[in-house]
Point group: C2
Amino acid sequence: MVHTGSCGDRLHRILIGYLPILTWMPKYKKSDLLYDAVSGITVALTLMPQSIAYASLAGLDPLFGLYAACFGSVMYIIFGSVRQITIGPTSVVALLTFNYVNPALPATAVILCFVSGIVELVCGLFRLGFVVEFVSMPVTGGFVSAAALLMASSQLKGLFGISFHAKNCLEMWIKFVENIEHFRIADTAMGMTCIFVLIGLKSLKCVKVNAKGMKAKSYSVLLFLLNTGSNVLVVIVSSTIAYFSIRQGQSPLVLTGTIDSGIPQFRFLFLDYENEDEKFTFLEGLSRLWPGAIVVPLVSILSTVSVAKAFSGGRVIDASQEMIALGFCNIFCSFMGSMPVAGSMSRSALNHTTGVRTTFSSIFTSILVMLSLIFLTPLLHYIPKSSLSAVLICAVTSMFRYDMAILLWKTNRRDLIPFTITFVSCLIFDVEMGLLFGICVDLLCVLYRSARPSISIEKETNSDHVKWVVRPSSGLLFPAVDFMRQRIIAEMSSSERPNKPNLIIVDCVHFDKTDFTAAQGLKSLINELKSESCQLELMNAKECVAAILESTLNVKILSMVPLQDSIKKFNFIQPDLNGIESMTFHEMKMKDICEHKA
Amino acid sequence: MVHTGSCGDRLHRILIGYLPILTWMPKYKKSDLLYDAVSGITVALTLMPQSIAYASLAGLDPLFGLYAACFGSVMYIIFGSVRQITIGPTSVVALLTFNYVNPALPATAVILCFVSGIVELVCGLFRLGFVVEFVSMPVTGGFVSAAALLMASSQLKGLFGISFHAKNCLEMWIKFVENIEHFRIADTAMGMTCIFVLIGLKSLKCVKVNAKGMKAKSYSVLLFLLNTGSNVLVVIVSSTIAYFSIRQGQSPLVLTGTIDSGIPQFRFLFLDYENEDEKFTFLEGLSRLWPGAIVVPLVSILSTVSVAKAFSGGRVIDASQEMIALGFCNIFCSFMGSMPVAGSMSRSALNHTTGVRTTFSSIFTSILVMLSLIFLTPLLHYIPKSSLSAVLICAVTSMFRYDMAILLWKTNRRDLIPFTITFVSCLIFDVEMGLLFGICVDLLCVLYRSARPSISIEKETNSDHVKWVVRPSSGLLFPAVDFMRQRIIAEMSSSERPNKPNLIIVDCVHFDKTDFTAAQGLKSLINELKSESCQLELMNAKECVAAILESTLNVKILSMVPLQDSIKKFNFIQPDLNGIESMTFHEMKMKDICEHKA
């Protein structure tokens, strides 16, 4: 019976791991529902204009964004573990989608969404969550900053009512300057006004309410609503202006254009797509965007996990589980014909502010977006493009991490290198190439740094012998051993005869691991030292390190003094080198080591 | 005066660093000349048949190999620092040359040689020698083994007198089996005989001479000559057979074919090449082989530096200087119209055995090869291809490092992973793609291992508080911090209330370096622990680590107890988290830490 129980327990734990809904669902209360509803509706207000804007950023019909907004979070309710997170269209993913999806074949965005989901799901099931740890914050910061600059630049034409086509950042600015004379006065005025209004409304956050009691509370709520609903407000007001100017027979503004109304049908859209002027199979579509099928999920995972970490509130995030959740979200979305989705930092923050209790709040977001899809799409037609550009530019500026650059300058300037390299290469190449390049350079720096431990050499001269204790500050994986070897040899060749050591002790106290190449390096060091009639001993080697060294160096361990958990002290001789099996017993005790340190 | 002297000294040291010839030339003695001459001539005997065989391995005219043999080492006399090394055509470089040089445009091999030289020279001048350290021995072993298998496979057709064209290893074996019925009896017989004779002659090395005195010495010399000159012997005997069979009107053997005699002219062959049927400019040629211009120098450097290390005899090899020397060798060779060259392990070993004194011995090799170029080329015509294949197969089998695989199995099985991955991917893809892939996987393993330190947690329960000392076994660069964080949080959540710690001390004694991301990770760990009303302190941080942590975490260091050179102990509080600036003084002294360890 006990066995069955523990087996059931284990199954239950595994189930809860994969289905976090099982954790909160049984404890769900009425009061939770209220909080979730408020959060869900608030998020929907921000989400709707954003999703239209992001779809246009991706060069797609607004419906792709609205479907993403509507269905993005549905699967996260079941599989997601961080209650604040909302999944949906995000600016970075939209930018990448624009890079990979041919505007002439918008339906490939759905294929991209599906394939991203599959890749994320597979990575999650293979527990590849740890990969995220290898992307450092400076790299992420540089990438996000470059993406922000690129997105803001791409919206300039919308803001001024100009139209041109450019892919990279420099080209955008050149074409912008070339075409600035063709700017449309009405769009420019509308865009600029929207930006100023948005900045004004956003700054309401900082306003302190002086009144007291109920009045203070209602003021706070008003300020909060104005701040949160600023995008919706700007879009509604500008659309109203556009509507009335059209009714008066004028059309000075570039508008979003007609949007089909109604909810989408659940269909395997991606299997074989056919439309009036586009027709392709799934594989044809995939072949047109294939590098995107690696980059988009990578970036989605990165951003979602970093959002999850930001809101985990002390819990350890299971990155693999977040990958699985994101994968299901994208797969489900693709069935509904949406663009790729990911976790949004700004909307998750909003969720957090409004006190969301569970991931169930997304249901309210979905319902609201769906209602607007059914009833409001005719009105979406009138949204001026310049006001969408204004919304995007304002949303994106906060992503520009100049604050991180300053912090890095103050704390650790070396970390500015990956930041700058990622930032610059994202602007010069594509964002995704830049990201990959930045990650590689960053990891190479880590490798290089771990291959260059600081090495302290303590010299001790007695009447009869000269002893050096060499203590590398970190483990001895292969790239580091040559460095230590060179350091010792260089130190030896710079010291004159009477000070030349006849015993060198390598203190392995900081060694965590070792490998074959490192052991071989030590072996040749021993040979080299022998030719200078100097002996090399090791001490404080952990058992796992000792085992490898022992077998590679073909030595006998003469003494082991158990020190700590798994630390052993041993010394050895190299019997095959001078014929005589001389044996030494290294007398140093732990006390001596401590004295060395003090 | 002193200043000028030290300045002159420094100049002298720099000059000696770049021109090792200045070290040995002034001390050169007559007796050195004798040893160098013997070594040089012995090497030439091995080199000549090898160079013809390697040229044919590269799909080139034998002259490309002979020129490489003749001029390969000339520049190494001036710039090389390891006396045993001989530069010339090698099997691995020949195999790569075959991959990149179109057999229809053999002159591009000269361009490859020139460009490799330039790349090597530039890498050397930029002191990129350390890059070599990042290629581990298992990767090199896997690569060399795969190359050996590939080369042996490529020679099967020559051995059996079959002709077909195949690039990868599997294809070679498939085509070989398909075409085996077309084998030529004479070539097969000749090839097989050569292999058996070569094996027999090589095994003479193990023969022990029983006689004494002069007789023993002359026996030893004879055995040594038979062993060393085995390749020459086999080639001469087989050529003689071929010559006489042709004179009798028969031609049962496939022969090497006509070779132009005479020494090459020094010319800028690579600038604009024009021949009867080939004509291209330097850039056209380069564009046809460009990835080779990265891979060939990389592999040449790798093999040359590992040969140099093997024979350095205790001296630290300056890998950058070896790169410079190799660069000059290749550039000079390209002026003479040779294929790319590198340091050869087998010939360097021969040099070592014959007691070479300086790099000057290469002059004798060059002179001998040049003489044979002038007088013997008509005879080279008669060398049977099957005997060259036999020479190659025998030369290459010793490169197959099954012994390393066994050693790895015995010592550190984890290192079999990079070995196997490199070996298999070299066979599946190209050798160079396999090498790069192997290096990447290996470095990722190093990264992963350094990101997973072992973490010991010591728990201490007093009447009023529960204290944990967390001690990661290696430095805290960013990929590791999340791991530690997860470990601590997991440990906390698995312990019940009375055992939950209210003070966690992270012992930074093994921390060598840190970075911004790691500091941020610690910061969020502090926040997480605060929410569990637990405080986090650091101790034993080195100054450089402390500086970064201090500024990132925005903490005041309340106490620093100088311990060792650069180790400081400090603790801190997080004033912005609970409003009250509570201060604690961590009383632990070095003695306590030692007690902890013991």
